[in-house]
Amino acid sequence: MTREEIEAVLRAEMHQIAPDIDIEEIDRQEDLRDEFDIDSMDFQNLVAALSKRLGIPMPEADYGEMGSFDAMLDYLTAHAG
């Protein structure tokens, strides 16, 4: 998958969880949970959905590498690309 395709997946899943947030308005380098106002449960659901769609395990030990929208996109591209 290309980075663009993965970004489309990430956008779609973010929209599922935080439909009231406009992705164009967020700071892609800032804390993902703050920018989308999501809690631990939402984040876990997001990871579960991405893990299924992209077929990557996304272990909890890697959560530190998924801190912002861009960091998450880098992580997904590195593992699913």
Partner: protein, 405 residues
């Protein structure tokens, strides 16, 4: 023969609009079946049946807004012969009273030596008001002072119909609760929270305690359990918090129950209300039933399911009306401590702040440790700081042994 009634929806809601029937006349009804859906200030709520039998007819039309306790449909027990709807309709109010679902509380209430009311009413003068439990519940939920009602029941007792008659004279609840603030009307959800919290602060003498506890064991346990699990089966620290509180409630019944009309009823089971933030604003704290008996994985599944249904705006009436204690956990993105407001008629709310790293003394050394601030807001009519401190220490003890949760 029994009426399927609009159940209590928590102390901050007194009415709901019937929007959907999920069972039709002739259908067999089992205990726990979802029979109807009502629209409330907190979203759509599924109403379960507490009876077994055959649904023989509807008593309320779709789209109608009805107060708590109103008969919605007739359910005939299978052993009964001919349905007699006319008789039931005539005696609808008493039937409704018998069937109004209540939280399972211990059979022997503990009477406390406190004045039941602040304002002087005939009740406070010693002459106990004759009022049926369902009528009292509805009066309380809808802010009607029972002392101002004339009872039409046996020996002049106040029955559900008397309260309903009064409510029909009153303006709609929205009009009553709507408050102007900066020129904007409060939303239904905000008005419901305002009503419950104002009542709490007016009636409940809160006291507050806090304790900082170490999380090393709990976090290591979660990391270990989650290491080889797919994301959808992973535990969150919040499940450990909820379970630790539920277990501590077993030993400290003075924090788990309902205080109503000057009487504290400790609950036998722990129905832990889980405070859930709603994206559009506001929050609800529906119950996870029998939380003290669930293993961590089951508890986590229930929490996931509850959050998903709250986010979708659909949960069950029993979940809203019968929590026996509330647990509010800020999660990863909050502040260090939260001091809750007790949700009446409950008597305690336990708060967990956001876990942080702090210098921590251990055997003469100072190390950086992960800690969380645990707080308790409790009802001084029922407990005091001494037992509150022991309750918090018990929660801490459970969290230090996560493998036993």
């Amino acid at each position: 023969m029994a009426a399927f009634v609009m159940p209590s929806l928590g102390s901050d809601m007194d009415a709901g609009t019937l929007v959907e029937w999920l069972k039709r006349p002739g259908d067999e009804i089992h205990r726990g079946d979802i029979v109807a859906v009502v629209e409330t200030q907190k979203g759509a709520i599924e109403i379960e049946s507490f009876q077994e039998g055959i649904l023989t007819g509807y008593l309320t039309d779709l789209g109608r807004k009805v107060p708590v306790g109103t008969p919605l449909a007739v359910i005939r027990e299978e052993s009964e012969d001919e349905p007699d709807d006319a008789a039931l309709l005539k005696g609808a109010a008493p039937a409704a009273e018998q069937q109004a679902p209540t939280a399972p509380v211990s059979a022997k209430p503990v009477t406390l030596d406190v004045e039941p009311r602040i304002t002087a009413t005939p009740e406070a003068d010693g002459a106990r008001l004759k009022i049926s439990p369902a009528a009292r519940r509805l009066a309380q939920a809808s802010a009607v002072d029972p002392a101002t009602l004339t009872g039409t029941g046996p020996q002049g007792s106040i029955v559900l119909a008397d309260v309903m008659a009064r409510l029909e004279q009153k303006p709609a609840p929205e009009a009553k609760q709507a408050v102007r603030e900066g020129g904007e009307q409060l939303s239904g959800m905000r008005a419901a929270i305002a009503a419950a919290m104002a009542r709490s602060k007016r009636e409940i003498p809160h006291y507050y305690l806090s304790q900082t506890i170490e999380l090393t064991n709990a976090e290591a346990f979660v990391a270990k359990v989650n290491a080889d699990r797919p994301p959808e089966n992973r535990l969150l620290l919040g499940a450990l918090f909820l379970k630790a509180v539920a277990l501590a409630c077993r030993k400290f019944p003075e924090f788990n129950g309902h205080f109503e009309d000057g009487v504290y009823h400790p609950a036998e089971a722990v129905h832990a209300g889980m405070a859930i933030n709603i994206r559009e604003g506001g929050l609800v704290a529906p119950a996870i039933h029998h939380a003290e008996t669930l293993d961590l994985d089951t508890l986590m599944d229930r929490m996931r399911d509850l959050v998903a249904r709250v986010r979708a705006g659909r949960f069950r009436a029993t979940e809203l009306s019968d929590p026996t204690i509330t647990v509010s956990s800020l999660g990863d993105r909050g502040v260090e401590a939260l001091y809750g407001v007790i949700y009446p008629p409950q008597v305690a709310i336990v708060g967990f702040g956001t876990p942080v790293s702090r210098p921590w003394e251990q055997a003469g050394d100072i190390k950086l440790k992960r800690v969380v601030t645990l707080t308790l807001a409790a009802d001084h009519r029922v407990s005091d700081g001494h037992s509150g401190a022991r309750f918090l220490n018990a929660i801490e003890k459970h969290l230090q042994m996560p493998e036993k949760l």
